[in-house]
């Protein structure tokens, strides 16, 4: 019986079977074309601006930049330190927290932070830790004795510490969420119970028994964190060193220089960044091998307690600290947006008012509308593509292999600067730049993978017996999809859409380049303003940036309950 149904569905696939190719093409083509568009000028070839011969001159110019060595060092150090700390804190925290009851619902706690764009949190963080910032204000002068802010470099510090912290605020929660997801795929509880019975401490049991099982599943997210930390532009602009800046910022600075000839060293810098990302990920991969062999011996030795517990506790503290900082960062910007004036060392503004919002509403309305339209379009297109891929997969009973997973991660592993510039040249050629459509497409590159990754597991976990029952009652596959699957899976579909929408809202570089500077979203405006405008205005933008995705999340959480008020089983109360 089951077999018969299966055959019928296979025959009806048709158009659907093309969807995976279309989906992969939608983001792989621009990335591939963009990479070529960056690689050619990196070796001197771009006839449109006089580069007609291949050569190494762009590289010579890159190496001759006075701050080149420092820039590369800062890039590598901040990137690698961020990745190490993020992984350490995320693992340690999970080892410490895994058996608390609230841990299972940590996703809901982290959603506000995860949905807030990087740049908004970075802007808030900059105000928190500046020598004249909120923390210093709260402690001055009664504790510190500072009547004037001290002359210490915190934000934009030459070593990039502020940048590392700013990145951790978002990367750690992201990894924790990935770990929580992976945990559901292994019989963690039983294994931990056995380990406890054998006398292992909570943290040691988790690190030694669970971590090795789930690591393969979070390897790609870890690589994505590495790539992101090495190549981030917006957070680096807000928090990173500026003279010289990290390589990615340097590349952007040169790409936008008035002297078009800087395009060549800029392309070289972007290419070098790509090489660095590959090298660091390769190095990490090698470290994984070493860790595996030594780790196996370490686990086999059978230590029950030791440093693991202390390390996990420290990581949990770190996690808690980051969580508090993130919340304060957003709250601080919120307070600023209502402040009339607010100067050092006042811990709180002397007066709050709505005047600022009233004044800014006009200016905010347009970028907010664009943000919304682009986000909704990108999410809707991505959702249609992903759903058809998943439906195609379930009808064909063919699971997407690990190869496809790697493909999905390509946009998250390749530095954005390395392909967005080349892509922009193509868009200008096609007379297509600066349009909403171009921006939506550029966002799609990043929205698609996230949507797929968040929806694939719940979709695949769908109990096929529902579909079979419906089919045996005479329902066509399409009817099964619309009437059975979609309603039952509405909750994960909405959550994945909220994730996708949040990803779109947060896009900086993709918007700047595809929009050719003419399509302004809340995020591009906020980053432009963060260079030094009125904090009350920045606060309003940062808060608006944070609210948008949050509303989407709340909607995704509340909507199924409202729609299915009478059908609690479908509403996903489970």
């Amino acid at each position: 019986m089951g077999e018969a149904v299966h055959e019928v569905t296979v025959d009806r696939r048709g158009l659907l079977s093309w969807m995976p190719a279309l989906t992969v093409g939608a983001f792989m083509l621009p990335i591939g074309a963009g990479l070529i568009g960056t690689l050619l000028p990196a070796f001197g070839y771009l006839p449109a601006i006089g580069g007609s011969e291949f050569g190494l001159d762009p590289w010579r110019r890159l190496f001759a930049y006075p701050g080149f060595a420092t820039s590369v060092t800062v890039t590598l150090v901040t990137g690698v330190v961020t990745a190490l700390l993020a992984v350490g804190i995320a693992f340690g925290f999970c080892a410490w927290a895994h058996d608390w009851r609230w841990f299972r619902r940590i996703g809901a706690w982290l959603a506000p932070i995860l949905s807030t764009p990087h740049s908004a949190i970075a802007i808030g963080f900059a105000f928190l830790v500046a020598p004249s910032g909120w923390i210093a204000r709260a402690l001055s002068p009664w504790l510190t004795g500072w009547v004037l802010p001290p002359d210490i470099a915190t934000v934009h510090d030459p070593r990039g510490l502020a940048l590392v912290f700013g990145l951790l605020l978002k990367e750690v929660p992201y990894l924790v969420l990935m770990i929580v997801g992976a945990l559901q795929q292994v019989p963690a509880r039983q294994h931990l119970a056995i380990a406890h019975a054998l006398g292992y401490s909570r943290a040691a049991a988790w690190i030694k028994v669970i971590l090795p099982q789930i690591y393969p599943q979070i390897r790609l997210p870890v690589y994505a964190v590495i790539a992101f930390s090495l190549s981030v532009v917006d957070v680096a602009l807000i928090l990173g060193p500026s003279n010289p800046p990290p390589l990615a910022v340097l590349a952007v600075r040169w790409f936008t220089d008035a002297d078009i000839q800087f395009y060549f060293p800029a392309a070289a810098a972007a290419t070098l960044l790509l090489v660095l990302v590959i090298a660091v990920i390769a190095g990490w991969f090698a470290l994984e091998r070493v860790a595996m062999t030594t780790g196996r011996r370490w686990i086999a030795r059978g230590g029950r307690r030791g440093v693991v517990a202390a390390g996990a506790r420290a990581a949990a503290f770190g996690f808690g600290g980051l969580f508090v900082l993130s919340v304060l960062a957003i709250v601080g910007m919120g307070v600023w947006s209502f402040a009339t004036e607010w100067r050092f060392p006042d811990a709180w503004p002397p007066a709050l008012s709505l005047a600022n919002w009233m004044r800014r509403l006009d200016g905010l309305a347009h970028p907010a509308w664009i943000t919304f339209v682009v986000g909704v379009l990108a999410t809707a297109i991505a959702l249609a593509l992903v759903l058809s891929c998943l439906e195609n997969e379930s009808r064909g009973r063919r699971r997407t292999g690990t190869g496809a997973l790697w493909l999905l991660y390509v946009p998250l592993l390749v530095p954005q600067v390395a392909f967005l510039f080349g892509g922009q040249v193509l868009l200008v050629r096609a007379n297509f730049d600066g349009t909403i459509v171009a921006v939506v497409w550029a966002h799609l590159i990043f929205v698609l993978p996230y949507l797929f990754l968040s929806l694939a597991d719940p979709w695949r976990a769908f109990d096929p017996r529902y579909a079979r029952t419906a089919a045996s009652l005479g329902a066509s596959p399409a009817r099964v999809f619309w009437r059975i699957k979609l309603p039952i899976l509405l909750r994960p579909v909405l959550i994945a859409s909220a994730v996708a929408f949040a990803v779109s809202v947060g896009q900086y570089l993709a918007t700047v380049f595809a929009g050719n500077g003419r399509v302004a979203t809340l995020t591009t405006d906020a980053v432009t303003l963060a260079a030094g405008a009125d904090r009350r205005v920045i606060g309003a933008y940062a808060l608006a940036q944070a609210i948008f995705p949050l509303v989407a999340y709340i909607g995704a959480a509340v909507l199924p309950a409202l729609l299915y008020a009478r059908r609690r089983a479908i509403a996903g109360v489970s």
Binding site: A48, I49, Y65, P66, G67, T70, A130, P131, S132, L148, P149, D151, A153, H156, D157, P158, P241, S242, N243, P244, R253, T256, D257, A258, D259, I260, T340, E341, R343, F344, D362, G363, V425, V428, R429, N431, D433, G434, N516, G517, R518, A520, T524, D525, T528, L529, A531, G532, A533, D534, R535, R536, V537
Partner: protein
């Protein structure tokens, strides 16, 4: 004699005729402009200017049916790059930049590469009232003749803004500024040299310290650059360790620097807007104890312009906006420190009494310097000095 008389008659006839022709042309432009959306590429780091541009958009919308889309730039060079890229891609029409706020090196770059539309200023009715005799920067932009290829809209002159609560004696010269910084380590900074205000800080020092400032009006050469700038670098080497963060970190631009003054991290700052202190107090961006001073031997001043790229899609709309910016009512609105506080580019002698009155009725503030207090305006050096200074600075201090 009869020839002369004939000539006089001809001139008398021709003048109204020419004016009529111009009127006709202008009304044609206004008709064509209706319904156009002007992509106004303007540096967007300053909220009061952004608000002013929004206001301009509303006004020309009401008056001419022209929409203004403020394309917010972090650096004017971005707009230049875009036009260059469009030219490279062969897009000689329907370009995406219609109007750009520009001057100095960016104007020189666009003029040299023939990226500008014009001359067009003779077509703008309000341009006739621009002060072209006393304000020389209205016709000579960083030593480069304007030639009608850009239209002025706001004036700038270097001033220093300080917190009167913390600073008692203000330095009145470049050497005195060094002495003050030594006495107050970490309390002075300047914007990044990549920003025009940062390089202007060094240019101002160069003006006073160069053996002969007259050479600055000609392009810098490999032969004279080192010798002319040597005293300035010596001065800066001495100053740098006493700057905020020992000069190793600099605010990205003027507003970022102002934020530092507001946060109490520094005590004084350079600005290009003589009304900066008054504007910022009014907007709640600086404490009301800030005041303004200039150097005794004068400070550099320049004019901001708007230009139209050669491939702009909406040239008529762009001209309508450029003309609106020169309207006496607009200029008075811009000079109000509750708006932008920019000193006007117009010749008050060419205004009617009613128009002049708009300026006389503007509010006063103790933070606002008078024209007398502003002293001598020094002409901008040739753009090559700025470019070379920025490159040399990067070589010396980026490590």
């Amino acid at each position: 004699m009869p020839v002369r008389a004939l000539a006089a008659i001809l001139v008398a006839l021709a003048v109204p005729f020419a004016a009529a022709a111009q009127d006709f042309k202008w009304s044609g432009i206004v008709v064509k402009a209706k319904g156009q959306t002007v992509n106004f590429n303007a540096w967007a780091g300053d909220e009061t200017t952004n608000a002013f541009i929004r206001w301009v958009g509303e006004e020309v919308g009401k008056r001419y049916g022209v929409k203004v889309n403020h394309v917010k730039l972090k650096d004017t060079a971005e707009a230049v790059t875009r036009v260059v890229a469009e030219k490279a891609a062969g897009r000689h029409q329907d370009g995406t930049v219609d109007l750009v706020w520009i001057n100095g090196p960016n104007f020189l770059a666009m003029k040299q590469q023939a990226l500008l539309f014009g001359p067009f200023t003779q077509l703008l009715p309000n341009h006739a009232r621009v002060d072209t005799t006393n304000i020389r920067s209205n016709v000579i932009d960083f030593t480069v003749p304007v030639d009608g290829m850009e239209s002025p809209w706001r004036r700038a002159q270097i001033v220093f803004v300080y917190d009167g609560k913390r600073v008692r004696e203000v330095p009145r010269s470049v050497p005195e500024l060094l002495a003050w910084a030594k006495g107050h380590p970490g309390r002075l900074t300047h914007p990044s040299i990549r920003n025009f205000l940062g390089s202007t800080f060094l240019k101002q020092a160069l003006y006073e310290l160069a053996p002969d400032a007259a050479v600055l009006q000609r392009p810098a050469t490999d032969d004279n650059f080192a010798a002319v700038t040597a005293p300035m670098w010596a001065w800066y080497d001495e100053l740098r360790p006493h700057l905020w963060r020992q000069g190793r970190q600099l605010p990205e631009n003027g507003p970022a620097q102002r934020q530092l003054l507001n946060d109490g991290e520094i005590d004084m700052m350079i600005s290009f807007n003589p009304a900066e202190a008054a504007v910022a107090i009014h907007a709640g961006l600086l404490p009301d104890s800030v005041r303004t001073f200039v150097f005794a031997r004068g400070t550099i001043g320049n004019t901001s312009f708007v230009a139209i790229p050669y491939n702009a899609a909406n040239k008529e709309g762009a001209m309508v906006v450029a003309d609106f910016l020169l309207d006496p009512a607009t200029q008075a609105h811009a000079q109000d420190f509750r708006q932008m506080g920019n000193f006007s580019v117009l010749d008050f002698g060419k205004l009617s009494a009613a128009e002049r009155k708009r300026f006389d009725n503007l509010p006063k503030s103790p933070a606002l310097p008078t024209n007398a207090e502003l002293g001598t305006t020094l002409l901008e050096p040739h753009p090559t000095w700025m470019t070379r200074i920025a490159n040399e600075w990067e070589k010396r201090y980026t490590k």
